[in-house]
């Protein structure tokens, strides 16, 4: 009984292990575990080409978001600017390396890897699902996807621009740089990309064929 039950018509709740019989869902509706109310599955919108467009746009904004200054401060006629990376490095060089690494990871490294990983996944789905080595690469990318999503904190960083600016307005004249615009765009593109992206759906590409 146990062996033959392994089919696609049932699923187990990740949070409480309840056996659930899958049903077809209309789009925009999400199945929720009747026992513990954890979201189970939904019908993803997930158009591969749409995701590709969003992903490329986000990558396009990535470099300027990190290279252009996000905050500009004018104090007694002298001007100071900072980029996201400089912020992380300056706490690092003050001896607070843990804080520096945390900031660098969650604002630069993780989002960058996330976008590259998704781009690679999309390209493999479009052109390379038949090659065994690419399938392995695809599998590894999906495995670290969860960690990368957790570590990506662009939305929090966008809020922190505002908080820092208001904080400093007390002492000096603060203005936003071009980097802030690019960073906000990067955040919005990533937000929409992650709304399209569905990990469960990505895994199912490995089942086919």
């Amino acid at each position: 009984m146990a062996m033959e039950a392994v089919d696609n018509s049932i699923t187990l709740c990740q949070s409480c292990d309840l056996v659930i019989r899958k049903r077809a869902l209309p789009t925009g509706v999400r199945a929720i575990c009747p026992r513990c109310h954890t979201p189970l599955y939904d019908t993803p919108y997930c158009s591969i080409n749409g995701m590709l467009a969003l992903c490329l746009t986000a990558i396009f904004f990535f470099a300027p978001a990190n290279l252009f200054p996000v905050l500009e401060l004018e104090f007694l006629g002298s001007m100071r600017t900072t980029t996201v990376i400089e912020g992380a490095l300056s706490v690092y060089h003050q001896g607070y390396w843990l804080v520096g690494i945390a900031v660098l990871t969650s604002a630069v490294i993780a989002p960058g890897l996330l976008l590259l990983s998704i781009l690679m996944q999309i390209l493999i789905i479009k052109y390379g699902l038949n090659s065994p080595s690419l399938r392995t690469a695809f599998k590894h990318a999906l495995k670290i996807q969860g960690v990368l999503t957790q570590l990506t904190m662009l939305e929090i960083f966008v809020i922190s621009f505002l908080v820092a600016a208001f904080n400093l307005a007390d002492f000096a004249t603060v203005s936003f740089g071009f980097g802030t615009f690019c960073f906000t765009m990067l955040f919005i593109m990533t937000l929409f990309l992650m709304r399209e992206y569905d990990l469960e759906h990505m895994w199912s590409y490995l089942d086919e064929r």
């Binding site: 905050l71 900072t82 706490v91």
Partner: protein, 213 residues
């Protein structure tokens, strides 16, 4: 029979789901057939690991709040701010919305997380009679809001980078910053390692029915 008695668990019928890719597999296999991740029906050691991380985080919460988190030099005058005094200063200078944001992100969220996870883990370890559904909702909220504590560290890194003009005006991080970063890291990990299925195994039917009614 299907309506009321439908609480069949995966482990009862010899199935388990992969923690990485969520594929349903036979519980006897040691590795997932789709993503090769190791499978366990229940991870009993996860409660211990989570307790260890949570207790360490609780201890670190004290230095994070007692020690200063930033040092500001303004025209030769050095002031050190703790998380709380920084927020109090914002209230004094009439920046209430910013003060609220920082209060929620750096004081309320870490404390709520630690208290929430303690209740959650106690419910598993000591079989406390708390509604499982409520615990689970709380757990999902904790998982989601935890990241927002990073806000304060982002603000500090931006401030330190932009405010460096020697004796005139200079900002530097202070010891609590590392402690605070560790609190965030450890509480996030504590929530991540826990196998939530254990909660639903331990407190049986009794608490289920009370909330269903």
């Amino acid at each position: 029979m299907s309506d009321k008695q439908s609480t069949v668990l995966g482990k009862d019928i010899g199935l388990t789901s992969c923690p990485t890719c969520h594929k349903v597999t036979c519980a006897k296999s040691t590795h997932c057939s789709r993503c090769d991740a190791p499978l366990t029906v229940r991870d009993y050691s996860s409660v211990q690991k989570s307790w260890a991380l949570l207790i360490t985080a609780t201890i670190l919460l004290i230095p994070a709040n007692v020690y200063p988190i930033s040092t500001l030099t303004n025209q030769g005058r050095v002031t050190q701010d703790t998380i709380f005094s920084g927020i109090a200063h914002l209230v004094k200078t009439d920046m209430i919305p910013i003060a609220i944001i920082l209060f929620v992100a750096s004081i309320l969220v870490p404390i709520l997380k630690i208290v929430g996870l303690t209740i959650y883990l106690s419910a598993i370890s000591f079989k406390l009679p708390i509604s499982k559904k409520r615990l689970m909702t709380g757990f999902h909220i904790i998982e989601w809001i935890g990241r927002w504590s990073m806000l304060d560290l982002f603000v500090i890194s931006l401030t330190v980078a932009v405010v460096n003009m020697g004796q005139l005006l200079d900002a530097k991080p202070a010891p609590a910053a590392t402690a605070f970063a560790l609190v965030i890291l450890l509480t996030q990990l504590a929530a991540k390692v826990i196998d939530t299925r254990l909660l639903w195994d331990r407190l049986e039917a009794k608490d289920d029915s009370s909330t269903n009614a």
